[in-house]
Amino acid sequence: MSASSIALSAASTTATPPAVPEIPATGLVTKWRAALRLDRVALRVLALILCVALWQAASVHHLDLGVLTFRFVPAPTEVAAAAWALFQSPKLSAHVTNSLIRVFAGFGVAALLGIALGLVIGRSRRLEDALLPPLEVLRPIPGVAWIPLAILMFPSSELSMIFITFMGALFPVLLNTIHGVEAIDRRLVASSRSLGAGRWSVFAEVVLPGALPSIVTGLAIGMGTSWFCLVTAEMIAGQYGIGYYTWESYTLQNYADIVVGMLFIGAFGMASSGLIKLVGRLLMPWHRIQERHT
């Protein structure tokens, strides 16, 4: 849950009367809603098309705004041609699978470690004091700065790359988990204990589900930042990877290819974050209901 939605729901609870059972939507309302949703989809597609069209016009006419110039920016048509070439290339699947493995391995470890650490740090003041300061020092260090150490610390470049995507995902997961645990209503813990819950049950029945919305948010952000670090990580790569392809195109000055790589990373990042949000929604049917009613 983002800060703004917390603030919104807090504000609306004071204004709206207690939640009442949902009124079933009439046929007309459903149709109206469906039309509205279609409208929104259309708008989104239109916005995308408009952006691409503007880009095309700007680069074809070598638009020069002084501080910002499109003179050397490849046009969408050139990018499309480059993308087509990449799709034809036998290397594509190697690029994609290598990158997917690196991102998901780094992200997976970060998710496990971030959630586990976040849960214990959120629950114990003492562990927070012991663990959080060193982590806070590591947090602002960007992936690029890690490259030399990552190469020195790990036996293979593959592991070094995974380490960098891991560092990218760790902090969003960790900090959101901590926040989720600390935001749990203490009365929930108290009343559960009065119903016979022991330490472990409080953890499994109250703390974990209570922090879950925040954890899912952290995972979705962490997924994005993990992709964000991919180009950095694959600077070390020798041969394959979308990030490596992008970086190599830069050194070879294939500008259209760079944009293709960027778009690939953007698309994959968006899709995998979306996947996490979807899984989160399936895991937490109560959460949407709660948001709708409070």
Binding site: P18, A19, V20, P21, E22, D185, R187, L188, A190, S191, S192, R193, S194, L195, G196, A197, G198, S201, E205, V206, P209, G210, L212, M284, P285, W286, H287, I289, Q290, R292, H293, T294
Partner: protein, 278 residues
């Protein structure tokens, strides 16, 4: 429910209890609390805001430890929260990720009752509070009154010896509140737990209780115990009977006096602090 000799279970013994709360300065919330509540008795606590009613209840629940004195339930010292003492807060504390049924079944799950049996019993308790059709709803899909009913069912399914209620109907509208009071009395008559009930509403205290404890302003002590010797079951129009009105006048006078004194105390404290600022 276990019984001790001829007495009912759920006897609460408070002897010379003082509770200090942590903070910038250690702060004395209640002092010198002493009374015995018989098993199965319905006792209300009233008193000015901030006098330590919730604090006292939290101590009986085991959420916080008295700094001195004896706090025993059925002869055993209270050492932490437990399912023998259920707690109902002013706002529900149901688990948002569990349906009404699973919330009610929670206590049984904690004591290791199998899934099928606990669901069957939870359904029974939901029926008891009139919410049989709402078993699949999440707490956010229930009204405030329904949420409190689920909360009460969830506490009662554990068959607690003591039920602690901290202004449980304080956030409900007048009609719902009256219905909930009747429901509570009905259930109390049937299951006979000891009830320790905090409220701001003198009418509510008198309609429900065998005895009302009036607390002083802070640090809270027990100023007076008022025996409510009104016949049960109490009819709806009991609030206009002369006996009731006489009791109400007594309570009102005591509470108003305490509120006045707490205000005077506050002003005096302010007067002492003023020259320091100037």
């Amino acid at each position: 429910m276990t019984t001790f000799g001829t007495q009912k279970a759920g006897r609460i013994e408070l002897r010379d209890i003082a509770i200090h709360l942590p903070g910038k300065q250690r702060f004395e919330a209640v002092r010198n609390i002493g009374t015995t509540i018989a098993g199965g008795e319905f006792v209300s606590i009233i008193g000015p805001s901030g006098c330590g009613k919730s604090t006292l209840l939290n101590a009986v629940a085991g959420y916080l430890k008295p700094s001195s004195g004896r706090l025993h339930v059925d002869g055993e010292a209270v050492s932490g929260p437990g399912s023998d003492r259920g707690m109902v807060f002013q706002h529900h504390s149901l688990l948002p990720w569990r349906t009404a049924l699973d919330n009610v079944a929670f206590g049984l799950k904690m004591s290791g009752v199998g899934r099928r049996e606990r669901r069957a019993r939870a359904e029974e308790f939901l029926r008891l509070v009139g919410l049989a059709e709402f078993s699949d709803r999440y707490p956010a899909q229930l009204s405030g009154g329904m949420q409190q009913r689920v909360e009460i069912a969830r506490v009662l399914i554990n068959n607690p010896r003591v039920v602690l209620m901290d202004e449980p109907f304080g956030a409900l509208d007048a009609q719902t509140r009256e219905r909930m009071q009747q429901l509570l009395l009905e259930i109390w008559g049937r299951l006979q737990p000891t009830v320790l009930f905090v409220t701001h509403d003198i009418d509510e205290a008198l309609v429900l209780s065998d005895r009302v404890l009036v607390m002083t302003h802070r640090p809270g002590r027990i100023r007076e115990e008022i025996l409510v010797d009104l016949r049960r079951p109490r009819p709806e129009d009991i609030t206009v009977s002369p006996d009731f009105i006489a009791l109400k006048k007594r309570c009102l006078a005591l509470v108003q006096d305490e509120v006045r004194q707490s205000l005077v105390g506050g002003l005096e404290a302010a007067r002492i602090e003023l020259p320091v600022e100037a």
